[in-house]
């Protein structure tokens, strides 16, 4: 469960996130959809405590991220790709993270197996392909077996096989009863992955809906999305996007 209330973040003149209120519930994949620069990444950084909001609150598992007793056991996150040192092996990277949150070391090999990295686990992580690097970041997110998972644009740059793998992974994680929150600017990809949709534009909430509802109201999901975000697209055209 993720709960955001009146979340606001400004960078100088620009309001990246503007009074955003939403809940992300367990058991389904919730898509976080919006054009580039609509505040999705900023919102995710606020959820993870990497930035402090100017107003409002956001809680994961009932607490702010900084107050979680063992963050990796509550929330797994994939932000920008490659959050690891190229000179360290995948296994060593995960061992270090496991130690920090008192996660049993046995969980490292289990997680490596889960993402299909066992064979490459001892190699320098800098030698991994983009798809394999993505799997290592996902392994780090899954390491603590967390009930909440956050993925920021997880399919960017992946080949079709990698995209399908991540899509199925997110669905199965939700089916296990976890909260899965995934951002994207690709409406077609979200249509295949998500059940619920939180749509933002220019930092504001445009819709809190389901894929079924949204496609019923318009000729296509894409039309619905573009109709919803047309206001924020105009905003972008004025050049005030962060």
């Amino acid at each position: 469960m993720i709960e955001a209330h009146g979340l606001t973040k400004r960078y100088g003149q620009i309001t990246a996130v503007d009074h955003l209120t939403f809940d992300v519930r367990p058991g389904v994949v919730t898509g976080f959809l919006g054009p580039n620069g609509s505040g999705k990444s900023t919102t995710m950084r606020l959820i993870l405590g990497l930035d402090a909001p100017d107003h409002g609150t956001v809680k994961v598992a009932g607490r702010g991220y900084h107050d979680l007793p063992f963050p990796l056991r509550e929330v797994g996150a994939l932000l920008e790709a490659k959050a690891f040192h190229p000179g360290r092996s995948a296994r060593a990277h995960l061992h270090a993270l496991a130690a920090s949150n008192a996660i049993p070391a046995s969980r490292v090999d289990q997680t490596l197996r889960l993402v299909g990295l066992t064979a490459a686990a001892s190699r320098k992580a800098g030698q991994l392909s983009l798809g394999m690097a993505q799997r290592l970041d996902i392994a780090a997110a899954l390491l603590g077996d967390p009930p909440v998972l956050i993925f920021d644009e997880p399919v960017n740059g992946l080949d079709p096989e990698g995209i399908r793998w991540i899509r199925n992974l997110m669905k199965s994680l939700a089916a296990e009863g976890r909260t899965v929150f995934v951002s994207s600017h690709l409406i077609a990809e979200m249509a295949l992955t998500a059940e619920r949709l939180i749509i933002v534009g220019a930092g504001r909430l445009l819709a809190d809906t389901t894929v079924t509802e949204l496609s019923a109201s318009n000729a296509s999901l894409e039309d619905a999305f573009l109709a919803l975000t047309s206001g924020s697209a105009e905003f972008r055209a004025t050049g005030s996007t962060p």
Binding site: L50, H66, L72, A83, R88, S89, H93, A99, A102
Partner: protein, 230 residues
Amino acid sequence: MTDRYRFRNVARMEWIKLRTLRSVRWTLLFALAGMIGIGIAAGFNTRNPRGDVTNNILAGGALGSVLFAVLGVLVMTSEYSSGTIRATLAAIPKRPLVLAAKAATFGLTALVAGELVTFAGFLAGIAFVHGGVHRPALSQPDVLRAVALSGAYLCLIGLIGLALGTIVRHAAAAITALVALVFVAPLAGLAATPAGQFLPELIYANSLGATASWPSCATSAPEWVEFRHG
């Protein structure tokens, strides 16, 4: 079982990170080889029977301090350049705790490694001292103190590197600042001012100065290797 992460959890993470980078091991091995090599060369070339042999043999400290300082910088800046910092802060969102654990694990490692390379360099160096020259021994309190403090200096300069890396976050900028502080500032005349006693280079020279009544030590730091002939 603890109810939340503690310093020791974070220190364990930092220790695993430190010992699983090959570049750390190579840098320390290079420092060891350099200290031994320079120690032998200096010991062999000291011909002044009344010269400060300990001082000469520990000349490798100049190389060692550069290596330890750069290592300290990189231990922090590589977190930012590689993106590891995102994984680190996701695991431990309390930044001061991460910094404290990093400083403690790196500091202890650098202290042990610093003493090891300095004693190794000293012992290798005195083995090559000519018969006619007075050979220092670790049983002399002044000599022991000079060697031990020279090793501790390497740890301290490494921590200064870590601190600069934390402030600046970029390796090139941090190393530039470090070279300015450690190697250029003493030459630029700061050494003669009251602030001079806090310059790292002079702390090092003063730890060596413990071996001899050598009043010029504090003002002649850059020339502290002297191969004077009787």
